[in-house]
């Protein structure tokens, strides 16, 4: 279990903090519903923060990695019509502006983080929240650090 951790949500911009809290509420609901079915409520309680961390990264992955791919697809759409990006208000979005470079770099580094820590599977949109929770509960109980006595009795 991760210990002495900083609250990662506090490092996010406010709008993203709100989204994360809503997302955590949803994940928590699912976590304990799945845990009851799987008879792993103790594991869920013990490793709640670790499971939350995976879902925080899943949220960020959607936002920055998949979000970048779709942003890039939008740019390519306009390029295919011989237009160099788009303009919203006074902000321009094109292949060579700062926001594109920043977003690309975020996507790239987050992808490396996910790959190096072998959690790519949990980032895939095709895998449902329940499925991830089931796998994590199984994985965490099999590692044997903190078997729940109550559930094993």
């Amino acid at each position: 279990m991760a210990t002495n951790e900083t609250d990662l949500v506090k490092l996010l911009p406010y709008t993203l903090q709100d989204k994360t809290h809503y997302y955590y509420d949803f994940v928590k609901d699912r976590l304990f519903e799945v845990a009851v079915i799987e008879k792993r409520v103790g594991v869920a309680r013990r490793f709640e923060k670790d499971i939350e961390l995976i879902f925080l990264l899943r949220l960020l992955y959607g936002y920055f990695v998949l979000g970048y791919r779709n942003y890039d697809a939008s740019l390519r759409f306009f390029e295919s019509l011989n237009i160099d990006g788009f303009q919203i208000g006074t902000t321009h979005y094109s292949r060579d502006n700062t926001i594109t470079r920043e977003w690309f770099s975020l996507a790239e580094e987050l992808e490396i983080l996910v790959r190096e820590n072998q959690i790519e599977r949990y980032m895939r949109p095709a895998i449902s929240t329940d499925e991830i929770i089931r796998e994590l509960l199984t994985h965490l109980s099999e590692t044997g650090e903190d078997h729940d006595q109550e559930e094993n009795s």
């Binding site: 991760a2 996010l12 019509l81 920043e102």
Partner: protein, 279 residues
């Protein structure tokens, strides 16, 4: 014997903290643009759907070499960009506008001065339904800057939210005011041309997932003969997957209306942008 942990959570926590701390400014900047870009993504998905089923798209009114989106409902149409969709033989078929005011269905035909207007995130209208060629000129006296309801073919609403039941109810309310024929066959008629040209019924596009209550409401639409489309989780899915799903949906119009036949349907073509693979 216990199995080895695959994920080292303490290390992962540290790496995530380092990532967030070292990219604080970039994360702030990208997050600020995210909402606007979500609407752009919705617009592009709809445009690419039409391109995919065979329409040729042209950008009209580009500004400084860019597509200029309208993020205020008060702007004059001729100061913003839009897409003109043409058939294979280069005939203008319809236009796609962003954030366009349109007259409601129920009070159309009444005094134009007091007509209630609704700003739609994505509006598909008949060609020439708006004055678009007065580039950068001031509004002339009596110049109409909104589309008539008869000129509106279909529309999409983009919501950067999860899908909850009330959101679906709100969208139904919008459809009821603007295109009620999609809610009940006795209110107005969806034209034969609509299906021939493979237009899509009113679309709700959300960035988040549909919550279970919302899904149950949506599932009930078929029995209630409500024809709307909901695309959820848009930012976490490949555009091409969504476009394929939309094409499959409109591809079945022939099954529902065999009298439509094949002759008027544009041939499917490959999109000009390359495919994006989601892992």
């Amino acid at each position: 014997m216990t199995k080895k942990k695959i994920v080292n959570f303490s290390l992962l926590q540290q790496k995530a903290e380092d990532f967030l701390a070292s990219h604080k400014t970039s994360i702030q900047n990208v997050t600020k643009s995210h909402n606007n870009i979500f609407e752009v993504s919705c617009f592009v998905v709809i445009a690419q759907y039409y391109e995919h089923i065979g329409y040729q798209l042209q950008i009209k009114n580009p500004v400084d070499g860019k597509f200029r989106f309208r993020y205020s409902t008060n702007g004059f149409p001729w100061r913003y960009s839009y897409l003109l969709a043409c058939t294979k033989d280069d005939q203008p078929a319809f236009e796609i506008w962003h954030n366009q005011k349109v007259a409601g269905w129920w009070l159309s035909g009444e005094d134009e001065k007091d007509i209630p207007l609704f700003a739609l995130d994505i509006a598909v209208i008949t060609p020439g339904g708006l004055p678009a060629n007065l580039q950068f000129e001031a509004k002339g006296k009596g110049e109409r800057v909104w589309a008539k309801n008869d000129d509106l073919i279909t529309f999409g609403e983009a919501k950067n939210l999860v899908g909850y039941p009330m959101l679906i109810a709100q969208f139904l309310g919008i459809v009821h005011e603007i295109k009620p024929s999609f809610l009940h066959e006795k209110i107005g008629v969806v034209s034969r041309e609509f299906y021939e040209h493979r237009h899509l019924p009113p679309l709700l596009l959300t960035s988040g997932n549909m919550l279970s209550g919302a899904l149950r409401v949506i599932k009930s639409f078929e029995d209630r003969q409500i024809e709307i489309l909901v695309i959820d989780n848009l930012l976490n899915r490949s555009f091409n997957v969504i476009i394929d799903q939309l094409s499959a949906y409109s591809g079945k119009y022939n099954e529902r209306f065999p009298e439509l036949g094949e002759k008027n349907q544009p041939d499917a073509v490959t999109t000009r942008t390359s495919l994006i693979e989601v892992p």
